[in-house]
């Protein structure tokens, strides 16, 4: 499903048709980029948490949802300007993510419970968040429409249509990725994160406060997921308590596709998933988009069992 494989251009008897085809392709690629980048933000949270404690945090998709709702409340209900609502949502969601870790996952870690117990707990937390926010006095189970802070205008450059929303989403993600890159590779806490994900015990011996690092990782991942939620709300306008399930699932598979535990892998995987979905919908039919994306995943796993950029762990006997 790599770009450029969309199919042969129609008969060369009409060369302008071929040109138009390429423009449409470019527009679809842009659609896929927008979707893929939103997935990427969510996928990063999954990959970082997995890299550090080998846990598939099922509740992560719901943090995405909470981020979207917090943005909605901040922007629509409390009247904050969007450039305040977005960071506020990220900060609050980071706190919520860290709270979840502290209340639900840490007790299991401290007792040395099997990893599956943590997984089931994650599922429980996810369900709890979804049902709790569906209650009437919280968010209620209905859809909310999020008005856009700026008009979505369409530019046409050389035949290619781009909208301001698309530009905004992609730009914001790139900024966040740059910040993440900085944190992980140029700060002390980032170094500690990388150390803990390689070998927890060795890191502890070197004086790293493992619990703190784990908390921080959760917070960071949650902030990114919240940002994804805000962008999603901006781009697709409707939010509801169960909106996190599918994007969370897709982001997670994207993270595995790229190699779980690898940060560039998560971004790569997410972009591939986003493009695969959009190109399937644009050139085949929207009904198969999920099936094609998953088939892609399975095929990749068969040839590279640790994902595209993942490291194959050698088994020592």
């Amino acid at each position: 499903m790599a770009p450029g494989q969309g199919g042969k251009p129609p008969a060369l008897a009409n060369p302008s048709l071929g040109g138009q085809f390429n423009v449409k392709l470019a527009e679809q690629l842009l659609n896929g980029l927008q979707l893929g980048f939103v997935y990427a933000l969510i996928a990063l949270g999954y990959t970082m948490v997995y890299g550090i404690i080998r846990l598939i945090n099922f509740a992560h998709g719901d943090v995405f949802m909470i981020g979207a709702f917090l943005f909605f409340f901040g922007f629509n209900v409390w009247g904050l300007p969007w450039w305040l609502a977005l960071p506020l949502s990220m900060v609050l969601s980071a706190a919520i993510g860290m709270a979840i870790e502290r209340l639900a996952y840490r007790p299991l870690r401290e007792r040395g419970a099997p990893r599956i117990a943590a997984l089931i707990t994650a599922i429980g937390v996810s369900l709890f968040i979804e049902y709790f926010t569906s209650l009437k006095f919280v968010f209620s189970a209905n859809f909310r429409v999020v008005p856009r802070p700026f008009e979505d205008t369409r530019f046409v450059i050389g035949g290619l249509g781009i909208s301001t929303v698309q530009i905004f989403v992609i730009a914001t993600v790139l900024v966040l990725l740059a910040i993440l890159q900085f944190i992980v590779y140029r700060t002390k806490i980032g170094k500690a994160m990388r150390a803990v994900s390689v070998d927890q015990d060795a890191a502890r011996l070197m004086g790293v406060n493992v619990d703190q690092v784990i908390s921080f990782t959760f917070g960071l991942g949650s902030a990114l997921a919240a940002a994804a939620g805000c962008l999603f709300a901006l781009a697709y306008s409707q939010i509801s308590p169960f909106m996190g399930i599918m994007p969370g699932l897709k982001a997670f598979t994207a993270a595995v596709l790229g190699g779980i535990g690898s940060i560039p892998g998560a971004v790569l995987g997410a972009l591939i998933m986003g493009e695969a979905e959009v190109l399937t919908a644009g050139y085949l039919t929207s009904n198969y988009r999920d099936a094609i994306a998953m088939s892609l995943l399975i095929v990749v796993l068969l040839f590279r069992p640790a994902g595209l950029l993942g490291k194959a762990i050698r088994e020592k006997v």
Binding site: R54, I56, A104, P107, L108, R111, G112, A113, P114, R115, I116, A117, L119, I120, T121, I123, G124, V125, S126, L127, F128, E130, Y131, F132, S134, L135, K136, A141, I245, L249, F252, T253, V256, I260, N287, Y288, D290, A291, M294, S295, L297, I298, L301, L302, P305, A306, E315, V317
Partner: protein, 332 residues
């Protein structure tokens, strides 16, 4: 002579249980609604037993169990709807459902069972989604299956007798498999695949056997399910349903058939039972359920039975619980 006497007592107990429950149903002490709930709980039990075999005993982390449940449901439903609703067709349909599920399991298992733990989970999850998409689009090539609009008109052939005795059969099948050399091989593979390999166990065969049989049970459960409810819809076979079954197996305790059976029945009754809450609290159903789940896992992560079996048959020293020693990979 002790085993024979114990078998007779067990058989008598099971028969007695059947007679009592059937009486309650016939006299309508248990009304139509709860009868359906009971049928469903046993169907889920069969499915859960399948996953218990795959994951609890053989350690293969499968997140796509509902897909095989769905394959069994749609295949068998298609047959009775197209050909007839006599018991003959029903049996044929169930067999077809089981076979379809087993064939699918074999085919997808071949390439993916070599993946490790979490990756296997993802791959099965992916497969589950693919199956759901296929089910959503059945109206393109087999219009009577309804696609994502749902399938109506499958004859209501599932009765308590069918469900009960098939559950008993499933339990016996699993129990005998576990106690056999195949079963012991599976448990060994779960504990440490490398060591099992070294000891000469054909790990691929073990894993495939567990996977295929387990998915076959899911297919059987699906066939019974489709003939229980008047309406079949692909969303009943999505990823979330796979999680439900996984929940049941883990809560019951990995490596324990008793745990699986008890938890499956209790879980269905709990979910349905919560529906009778007064209207004001009805929306708290999901919240309570989730809270219960989290609390149980934190306080008792090894599940209800913790890997032990309750049986009239106490085999000395056999606890099939996953070991905690050295290899933490095994437990996921």
């Amino acid at each position: 002579m002790r085993p024979n006497r114990k078998t007779l007592i067990a058989a008598a107990a099971v028969l007695g249980l059947y007679v009592v429950i059937e009486l309650l149903r016939q006299t309508n002490v248990l009304d139509g609604y709860w009868q359906q709930v009971m049928d469903l709980s046993l169907i889920i039990t069969i499915s859960a037993l399948g996953l218990s075999l795959i994951y609890g005993f053989a350690g293969q982390f499968s997140l796509g169990h509902a897909a095989f449940y769905g394959i069994g449901a749609y295949t068998s439903g298609f047959i009775t709807k197209s050909y007839g609703d006599t018991p003959f067709w029903f049996i044929l349909a169930l067999i077809a459902g089981v076979t379809a599920a087993m064939v699918a399991a074999f085919l997808i298992g071949l390439p993916i069972l070599r993946l490790k733990s979490d990756y296997l989970g993802i791959a099965t999850l992916g497969f589950g989604i693919i199956v759901k998409v296929v089910l959503d689009n059945t109206d393109k090539w087999a219009p009577i299956m309804g696609g994502s609009r749902g399938m109506l008109g499958i004859p209501h052939l599932t009765t308590f007798a069918w469900v009960f005795w098939l559950t008993v059969a499933a339990v016996l099948l699993c129990r005998n498999l576990i106690l056999s050399s195949h079963g012991r091989a599976m448990i060994t593979v779960r504990e440490d695949e490398v060591a099992a390999d070294i000891m000469g166990i054909d790990t691929t065969q073990s894993k495939t056997l567990a996977f295929v049989v387990g998915c076959g049970l899911a297919g059987l459960a699906g066939g019974l399910y489709s003939h229980l409810y008047p309406f079949l819809h692909p969303t009943s076979f999505d990823f979330l349903k796979s999680l439900d079954v996984l929940l049941v197996v883990v809560l019951g305790g990995l490596g324990s058939l008793t745990g699986t059976v008890v938890t499956a029945v209790a879980w269905v009754f709990l979910l349905e039972g919560l529906r009778i809450l007064p209207e004001a609290f009805l929306e708290w159903r999901g919240v309570l359920y989730a809270l219960l789940l989290v609390v149980v896992m934190i306080t008792r992560p090894q599940g209800l039975m913790g890997g032990k079996e309750w049986s009239l048959y106490k085999s000395k020293g056999s606890s099939a619980a996953p070991g905690k020693g050295g290899n933490s990979r095994a437990s996921a």
